[in-house]
Symmetry: C2
């Protein structure tokens, strides 16, 4: 849930834009040129009207009676999602979760590169576990974030440290935070915080298993 | 995105139900009894009409002109989400991500307990890293899932092994899968698969940083 009140684009729309882009990526590699609105909707699992409504926030897309030009829509979506550039990301927390995120191949596919790793106790993390990136002490956070001009931070520390890390990231100049700690953090209004609640992902399963046993 | 076509409840609705339940949990602990529809909407970041629409799938909730009884709505939501019971979960993959999920405190808060851990090479995982649960070989998966009557599985293996693990889970009797591998897996129609795409979580940030720099 977005803390930010300034933005008028619903989070669910951003979610769907990601889906559209991903589906178009798959279609594109099959060489098709134009996709009918109903086909795209079908493959994404949404209604054509939903796609039109989501895209309408950003301009006019699609050709009446024909559908969407795949390549064009894909490029527009990536521009909208801000993934035409590569984003440098700072990771705080080099425990199991942090190391898992460091090794996660799905980030690069979306244009994100973890460019620096910090931990409260960098000396405790065996260097062979972090690949080529050294784990730096928190005292270097501000300098490194400024020097590398990093704007996105990932919090992968226990709940009880999450707020302190969040504050340190904001003070260092980070404006977007992906928070994996299962707790809310307080930040100034201009900072975007996205909480990843892995427990609520499991709730999707228990919901469907309960509703349709 | 849900592969399942049988279900008419949109995934975004399930997402919001999780949010409502979480917000109500926080309010409840402050001792309030009734919450105005507009207040709940405000705290959740959605419109009152959205909440009404989401809840209408499951029955009549709320008191006209007054709002919602907090305790009652919270309990109803948990029933809907299937989290009044504890769900046993099997985890496949004891690499960094698997170990991170094993240590993740957010699952228990939602009523999920990882009850068995499997890996292709269990002998390679130091026993002190998995706590009290032994890491079992894949050859035991079927028997353990059947014996413990586990219905939910988590895939925390590299992309190239995800399909094989998914198939093994389904064959063992799992009907709900949370897939962390950044790839799609094919399953029979009655199986619910929820893909966790950590890269698309970051896209939320790049979207907002691009739209509102």
């Amino acid at each position: 849930m977005w803390e930010n009140t300034k933005s008028r684009i619903p989070e669910a729309t951003v979610n769907r834009l990601s889906t559209y882009a991903r589906i178009l990526d798959q279609i594109k590699s099959e060489g098709t040129e134009l996709i009918a609105s109903a086909d795209l909707a079908d493959q994404c699992g949404f209604k054509p009207a939903q796609i039109r409504k989501d895209l309408a926030y950003f301009g006019e897309f699609g050709v009446r009676g024909k559908g969407y030009y795949i390549k064009e829509l894909r490029e527009n979506l990536k521009k909208i999602l801000g993934v035409t550039q590569t984003w440098k990301v700072v990771l705080v927390g080099a425990g199991n979760l942090g190391l898992a995120l460091l090794a996660y191949k799905g980030f690069l596919a979306h244009g994100f590169v973890i460019d620096a790793v910090f931990d409260k106790f960098p000396e405790k993390i065996p260097s062979h576990r972090t690949g080529s990136l050294p784990v730096l002490p928190m005292s270097d956070l501000h300098e490194v974030v400024q020097e590398k001009q990093i704007k996105i931070g990932i919090i992968a520390v226990p709940s009880e440290s999450a707020q302190n890390v969040g504050t340190a990231l904001v003070n260092a100049g980070i404006t977007g935070i992906l928070n994996f700690a299962p707790t809310q953090i307080q930040t100034p209004h201009h900072i975007k915080v996205k909480n990843v609640d892995l427990g609520s992902e499991l709730e999707h399963l228990s919901f469907y298993l309960s509703q349709y046993p």
